[in-house]
């Protein structure tokens, strides 16, 4: 075996090194050092994230490894970098939660599980063979169930974990069923060979459609697309807030990229005959139903859950186009979504840590008691809704442009429906802003409170991202260039 092919997996190996350092630190170092494990993880991961932005430091010679099962490219490295940025912010946000009395004894495990799930997501994105993909998928989703159950003394956390693990296993069973039919049709599990077989021999359209319906349903659970979204709100509400933000941003983002890779690379050649309309229906349903349910939520974590369901619909729009431009738009959208959603979760988490309040009514008049938190929340809501000066507007704009570029009437209708939904979403995002700025202070309002240093740092990074990405256009140009447009 040629061991030099491991050089293609530089990011995975670096991540494993970070993981091992954290792990060894958690086991062997003196108590005094162990107590700092959160900070140590943040620093190590931050250094690693920075290093990855300079790929020229590590000379590149291999593009694929393990006879094509694993593949990397500048675009994939950029995707992993985007995820790294999000994970870094989540790590900072979780510092305060992990040093509360209930968590202190097992917080090392939290950081270890988190890094391992990220490793699984890397494999999902880089996999070009369904076996490696499934291993990555399970490595990503099984530790997540343990993380959802992490607040062992809080009953909601356990209930959320049961719902998450049962749906996760259910969805992977459905996904595997789909893969088994694909295997029957093509006799291979390599993405590129599957595409070749479809191209060369043609295909039995009915069996292929059934297989693809299974595959899309399985991935739809991970991405929480409607009608596979029923677990989302409960799990997001019950899980500890740092885990919720991790689920809603990193897990969803990586699933979106992996979904894109599967659909384009393995099934791209049968796009029009098998999955085009399935995807259209899913997108319309996801955006609309997510929006309509978000309107009636009062618990902010549930509200953000449904908002993230509808955001997943917008993310899927990047997949429709099937071109490099769609990939760039998707990457940009996920990057902006990371900053905006993590800002929202950062505020919710900070207030929950200090006072335990998560209802929208508690946010009435927040501007008068905690002006800076209210301002950050407003920026996040504006960015999620897509109001012009902020990053969210541009990400929506680019993703609509990429979807339209193919130019069929159906796509115009699809984007039109998405646009109408943007206006609906504006309503409920502004409800939160209204509660914070216009409603008077009442008895339930969150009192003046001190958020911890780590929470403030994370929020500052998010605010810088939301405003910065809105103004600095080179980021999108850079992504376009990486994707080869």
């Amino acid at each position: 075996m040629d061991y030099s092919q491991f050089l293609a997996m530089k990011q995975e190996i670096c991540l494993l090194v970070v993981f091992l350092l954290v792990f060894l630190n958690d086991i062997f170092m003196p108590k005094r050092v162990q107590a700092k494990i959160g900070v140590i993880t943040c620093v190590l991961f931050g250094v690693y994230t920075l290093l990855c932005f300079f790929p020229q430091l590590m000379p590149d010679d291999a593009e694929s490894a393990f006879s094509g099962m694993y593949e990397t490219s500048p675009a994939i490295i950029a995707i992993k970098n985007i995820l790294n940025v999000g994970v870094f912010i989540v790590l900072i946000q979780s510092l305060r939660w992990s040093s509360t009395d209930a968590q202190v004894i097992r917080r090392g495990e939290f950081y270890e599980l988190l890094l391992l799930t990220l490793f699984g997501m890397y494999l999902m994105i880089s996999a070009r063979h369904f076996l490696l993909f499934i291993i990555g998928l399970e490595t990503a989703s099984l530790p997540l169930a343990a993380m959802v159950a992490f607040d062992k003394n809080r009953y909601e956390s356990r209930e959320a974990a049961v719902k998450y693990i049962l749906t996760a296993v259910f969805s992977s069973a459905i996904f595997l069923m789909g893969i088994s039919y694909v295997y029957a049709l093509t006799g291979t599990l390599y993405f590129d060979q599957i595409a070749d077989v479809f191209n060369y021999y043609g295909t039995d359209a009915i069996l292929l459609s059934i297989a693809l319906a299974f595959v899309i349903a399985g991935m739809g659970f991970k991405l929480s697309l409607v009608p596979f979204h029923l677990w989302t709100a409960d799990v997001y509400q019950g899980a500890p807030t740092p885990v919720t933000s991790y689920l809603s941003v990193i897990s969803k983002g990586s699933a979106a990229f992996a979904f894109l890779v599967i659909l384009w690379q393995a099934f791209g050649t049968v796009y029009s005959q098998a999955w085009e309309w399935m995807l259209y229906a899913l997108i319309i349903l996801t955006i609309t139903v997510g929006n309509l349910f978000a309107i009636r939520q009062h618990n902010l974590k549930r509200f953000l859950a449904f908002s993230s369901v509808s955001q997943a619909g917008y993310i899927m729009l990047g997949i429709v186009s099937g071109e490099a431009m769609g990939l760039a738009a998707l990457m940009y959208y996920v990057l902006v979504y990371i900053f905006s959603n993590l800002a929202a979760f950062g505020v919710v988490g900070a207030i929950e840590n200090a006072t335990g309040k998560v209802s929208r009514d508690d946010y009435n008049g927040l501007y008068h008691t905690n002006p800076r938190l209210a301002f950050t929340m407003m920026l996040a809501m504006f960015s999620l809704a897509g109001i012009p000066p902020f990053a969210g507007f541009f990400s929506k704009f680019f993703i609509f442009t990429s979807a339209i570029s193919a130019g069929s009437v159906a796509l115009y209708v699809l984007v039109f429906i998405a646009l109408i939904n943007t206006i609906i979403s504006l309503y409920y995002y502004l409800l939160v802003v209204k509660a914070m700025f216009i409603k008077p202070v009442d008895d339930n309002t969150v009192p003046l409170m001190q958020s911890s240093c780590s929470e403030r740092v994370a929020l500052w990074i998010c605010v810088a991202g939301i405003i910065g990405l809105g103004i600095v256009s080179p980021v999108y140009d850079w992504l376009l260039q990486i994707c080869g447009c």
């Binding site: 499934i134 399970e138 099984l142 049961v162």
Partner: protein, 103 residues
């Protein structure tokens, strides 16, 4: 009588559908887990049969099955651990009692 592929595929499909039906209708979490296991094992049968009958030249399906079995075991172990965790609180394993999280 010659045993053809269809003799394996039909039972596998029935197993999968039983699992699906059980997962949706059963209210006992352990029974739901058993249903999930049925679905995963139906997939394993599918892979092995397709490999044996359609593509006997390579072993891809068999290897996939081996990994799928290992993954299914890990999933079950984790799910049982979490269910026990819930059982300690509510003293039964009925999903109808998981009603704390709703609006």
């Amino acid at each position: 009588m010659e045993i053809t592929m269809i003799y394996y595929l039909i039972p596998a499909l029935i197993m999968f559908c039983c699992g699906l039906y059980g997962f949706i209708t059963r209210r006992n979490m352990i029974a739901m887990l058993i249903s999930l296991e049925l679905m995963l094992n139906a997939v394993d049968i599918n892979f092995v049969v397709f490999n044996r009958y359609l593509y006997p030249g390579n072993m891809e399906g068999m290897f996939f099955t081996l990994f799928a079995i290992a993954i299914a075991a890990a999933e079950t172990a984790l799910a049982i651990a979490i269910i026990i965790n819930v059982f300690r609180k509510i003293k039964n394993v009925d999903v109808e009692d998981l009603t704390k999280l709703k609006d």
